[in-house]
Every structure is written in C-alpha cells, then in structure tokens.
C-alpha cells in the first residue's frame, strides 16, 4: 500500500446558503484556501473527485456546474459520487493507491435548505415497499431511538448529555451552526418534536461545502510538517430493508471500524445526525470514555449534507496535523438509520 495523507482541509457551513444550489460561489474560495494551505496550483492536483446530490439541488447534473469552480482548461481528471464526499475521498484514495496519480482534491457540497430534507431523504429507501409510505428521516430515527429507550440502551438524559457536550465543544468551531452552553435540565424541558426525539436531538438542517487535499509519500511530506497519514480506510453496508435490521445496532459500522483499525484512537469525529446514534457508534466502534468524541461539536451542531462526512475526516485530520491527536478516526454514514458506514483512521508520525 502507498502512504497517503490528508494535507489540507477547508470548509464552510451555514444555516442557509443564499447562493445557487451548485454552490460554485462557495467552492471557489474553499479551493483557493487549499491552494494557500499547500502552496500548490491547479496543475499540482492530479485527480478531482466530488460528492453531492441532484435530489438536494433540485436540478440534474448539478455537479457538472460545480466543476466550474475548478476551471477545466487544460482538461482535468475528474470524478463524482452521488454520496457524501467521504466516499469521494475513498475513491481518490483508491486512485492514488493504483499509482495512477499522486495527489487529489476532494470536495462535497449540498444546499439542504432548498428543499425539505427529511422528505428528500425518503427517496433513498426501497422504492417499491418503503418510499411509497414516505417514512421521513426524522421518523425513522425516532423509531430507532424508541427501540433503544425501551431496551435501556440509553435514556433521555444520556441523549441530552450528548447534545449539551456537542454544543459546548462547538464553541471553538467557527463553522458550527449551533453552539454554546446549554444545561441538560433545560434540554429535557424542551417539548418533544418527533416522539421520543426533541428538536435538539436532530441535526439542524444546514448548508455547506468542504474539501480535502490528499497526497502520497514525499508529495505529502513536502507540503505538511505533520501530514495526517491514512492507516485505515474502509466502508461497509447493512441491508437496506429496515425490517431485517436490529436498528439499535450498526454491524456495518463495527465491521468498517475493525477493518480500518480503530484501536488506540484518542479522538473520534463520528457522523451521528441524531443524538441516540452517538451511543450506537461508540459501542460499534469500541470508543471508551478516554476517547474524545466530536471535539468539533459534530453533526448535531451543523449537518451540511454530502460534505458532513468529509468534514468528520477533515476535523480528525486537522487535529492530527496540529499535533493535538496522534491517532484519530473520521466516520461517515449514509442511508437510513446508520445503514452504511465508512471509517478513515489517520495518524501523525513525528
């Protein structure tokens, strides 16, 4: 395997992006920021890969318009996944492993505020027997939360504690949509939104974009003092049909974590867009109390669809590059109720 590292990360998040759903206006400064971080120009990027969704943009081929942000003369080597950009990062990592390219810039973007996210995401379900019922994301998450409550896997206080800790951590994150000190008692006094979930148990609908630069071996060493070396990168999936799964578990998260080698991480950025999904992921990834979980505040403080998974990896890698973490994981999820999971482990070497 080739040594590949994250050497750059940039992001923007906001409650509502005022510009177009192709988000070109947001991607141009993000890509510019990465050129500054690396000292590179477009000519140094061997491969480009993006993650986004036309269902979110409400227009076809929205990712083609977004390519304007790169500038394509001379032509660029480019690809796209209709998934969170964490999977675009995986594609870029594989591309570098083939030896065909040495560097890659991966970006993701999404304007959830253009539509009604919880309905849009219903379209990822089984189109024959589930989608016709329009079970939206929040309702499915509420069923999952209910199952855990009734089995004493978590209680309302545990969930409120996840929210309070996340909001407090987000105080240091300039991109967080929600942040600040809130008490568990105050959170529990809030009305139910989708029983048993309260509004704060659900990630805020928000917009944003993010990008990461990957580089192999000496290319990475030449631009970063302490690159975040990728030592494990795996993704797994569970059955799509909700009825055949134990919704309180996520075997695919456990399998991805084990294959990626998460043991010994001191920091974990996990993509749990609902508060009760954090205990599920802690269990599946084997994260004990010694591990700092979501120091950025995590998705409960900002959930830019199709880049939020990439942001988790970026936040983990940033801490490794800064030397505040030696081994960290970034986790991304897709599909209903933690159905599909990806784990990227990054390590610093002195």
């Amino acid at each position: 395997m080739r040594d590949v590292a994250v050497v750059g990360f940039a992001q923007r998040q906001m409650k509502e992006f005022e510009g177009s759903p192709t988000m070109v206006e947001l991607l141009v400064p993000i890509i510019g920021e990465l050129y500054e971080q690396t000292g590179w120009t477009k000519a140094d990027i061997d491969f480009w890969c993006s993650g986004s969704s036309d269902y979110l943009a409400g227009r076809s081929f929205s990712f083609v318009s977004a390519v304007d942000a790169i500038g394509t003369l001379p032509p660029v080597n480019e690809s796209h996944v209709e998934m969170d950009a964490a999977w675009a990062l995986y594609e870029a990592w594989v591309k570098i492993q083939t030896g065909e390219v040495d560097t890659a810039l991966v970006y993701g973007f999404g304007k959830s505020s253009a539509g009604q996210l919880r309905r849009t995401l219903a379209l990822q379900l089984d189109p024959y027997v589930l989608t016709p019922l329009w079970p939206d994301t929040v309702s499915i998450a509420a069923m999952q939360a209910r199952l855990g409550l009734e089995q004493d896997l978590w209680d309302e206080k545990t969930l409120a504690e996840v929210v309070a800790r996340s909001r407090a951590a987000a105080g240091d994150n300039p991109y967080a949509v929600l942040s600040g000190d809130v008490s568990v008692a105050d959170l529990l006094a809030e009305p139910l939104f989708c029983d048993p979930l309260r509004r704060h148990d659900c990630a805020p609908v928000s917009d944003g974009a993010a990008a990461i630069v990957l580089a192999a071996g000496d290319r990475a060493r030449s631009v970063a003092d302490r690159p975040a070396w990728i030592t494990g990168f795996q993704h797994r999936t569970d059955a799509q049909a909700l009825g055949v799964r134990d919704l309180t578990r996520s075997p695919s998260a456990a399998a991805a974590g084990e294959a990626a080698g998460v043991e010994g991480v001191d920091t974990a950025e996990v993509y749990a867009p609902f508060s009760h999904q954090e205990p599920i992921l802690r269990r599946e990834l084997g994260l004990d109390e010694s591990v700092t979980v979501n120091p950025s505040g995590g998705p409960l403080c900002g959930n830019p669809m199709f880049s939020a998974g990439l942001v988790r990896i970026g936040e983990a890698a940033t801490r490794v590059m800064a030397g505040t973490s030696d081994k960290a994981l970034g986790h991304a999820t897709s599909g209903p109720a933690l159905q599909q999971n990806l784990v990227c482990v990054v390590e610093g070497r002195n």
Binding site: F17, E18, G19, S20, P21, T22, V24, E25, L27, V28, I31, K42, Y55, G58, V67, D68, A69, I70, G71, T72, L73, S113, A114, G115, Q116, R119, T120, L123, P127, Y128, T131, P132
Partner: protein, 166 residues
C-alpha cells in the same frame, strides 16, 4: 390460485413530489435585474477575458469569479440551431420553429433562444439576428422579456468568425 394471483405485478405507481426554493446566485440576480430594465448583462473573466452571458459564479476555464460587468448589445449571430418539428406538452409555438444558439456581439458564449420572423428553413449558421422585446410594461426579471430573435437581413458572419464558439 386464481389467474389473477398467478399473473405478475408488472408495475406500481409511486408519486414523488418535492418542492424546491431556487435561489439565483448573485451573478444570476444581476443578470435578471438587468433584463427587467431591458439590459443584457454579462461578465468578463479577469484571467482569460472571455465574456459570459448569463454570467456565472466562476469562469469554467480558469475557476475564478467573473466580476467585471459588461453590458452587451441585443444583437448577434446564430452559431448553431435546430428545427423543432415534434409537438410536446406545454408547447407554445406551432412547429416547425427554430431553437438556436445566439452569440451576442462581444460575448464568448452563446445562449439558447428562439429565432422567428422567417421560415424555419431559412435559418442558417452565421445568420445575423436581433432581439424582439416584449412591450416594456410586460418586462419582469425574466429571459422571456425577449420574445424571440429575428433576422436583421445583414450579410451572414463568416464561419471562421464563430467557429471557436461551436
């Protein structure tokens, strides 16, 4: 089993309805507001100096924002075109009619519009055309303020002059 139970289910109907609020970008907004005043506004890339109309958030060649505004004339040439012969739902003009790429004078990218005012069979590449605007009191922030383009009758542009825009 009855015959009905044995026959395969060959299709199901799953209506999908999603509503979106489209926000025009800052560049698109300036363009649309210009149209409401009878102006066609493009933008020039600071690097390659190409003029885009409608303007866009980034020059697709260089990946940099195009900030310099350029007011363009409402006349240009047909670069390429098609004759619409097929009727479809919502069609507002009786076929045959012409949809064409119009390259305005001073612009580097053509946009799609209608060419009327002559037989469809007379439309050709390089034909010079001008905008026919709707009455001023009907103008809104819409491309439809220009009802269509019509031939000016001037000599055609030489192929070499627009070959790079095809």
């Amino acid at each position: 089993m009855t015959t009905a139970e044995r026959s395969p289910v060959t299709g199901i109907l799953t209506p999908v309805q999603l509503d979106y609020t489209y926000a025009a970008s800052a560049e698109e907004s300036r363009f649309l507001r210009g149209l409401a005043e009878g102006k066609i506004l493009g933008q020039r890339c600071p690097r390659c100096e190409k003029v885009y109309v409608p303007p866009r958030g980034a020059c697709p060649v260089d990946g940099v924002p195009t900030r310099d505004e350029v007011e363009l004339p409402d006349r240009g040439i047909v670069t390429t075109f098609c004759i619409v012969n097929v009727p479809f739902l919502g069609q507002r003009i009786k076929p045959p009619y012409v949809s064409a790429y119009i390259l305005l004078e001073g612009a580097d990218i053509p946009f799609l519009h209608l060419v009327l005012g002559c037989e469809a069979s007379e439309v050709r590449m390089g034909m010079r055309v001008e905008a026919v605007w709707k009455p001023r009191d009907e103008w809104t922030t819409s491309m439809e303020n220009i009802d269509h383009f019509r031939p000016t009758g001037e000599p055609d542009a030489a192929y070499e002059s627009f070959a790079a825009h095809l």
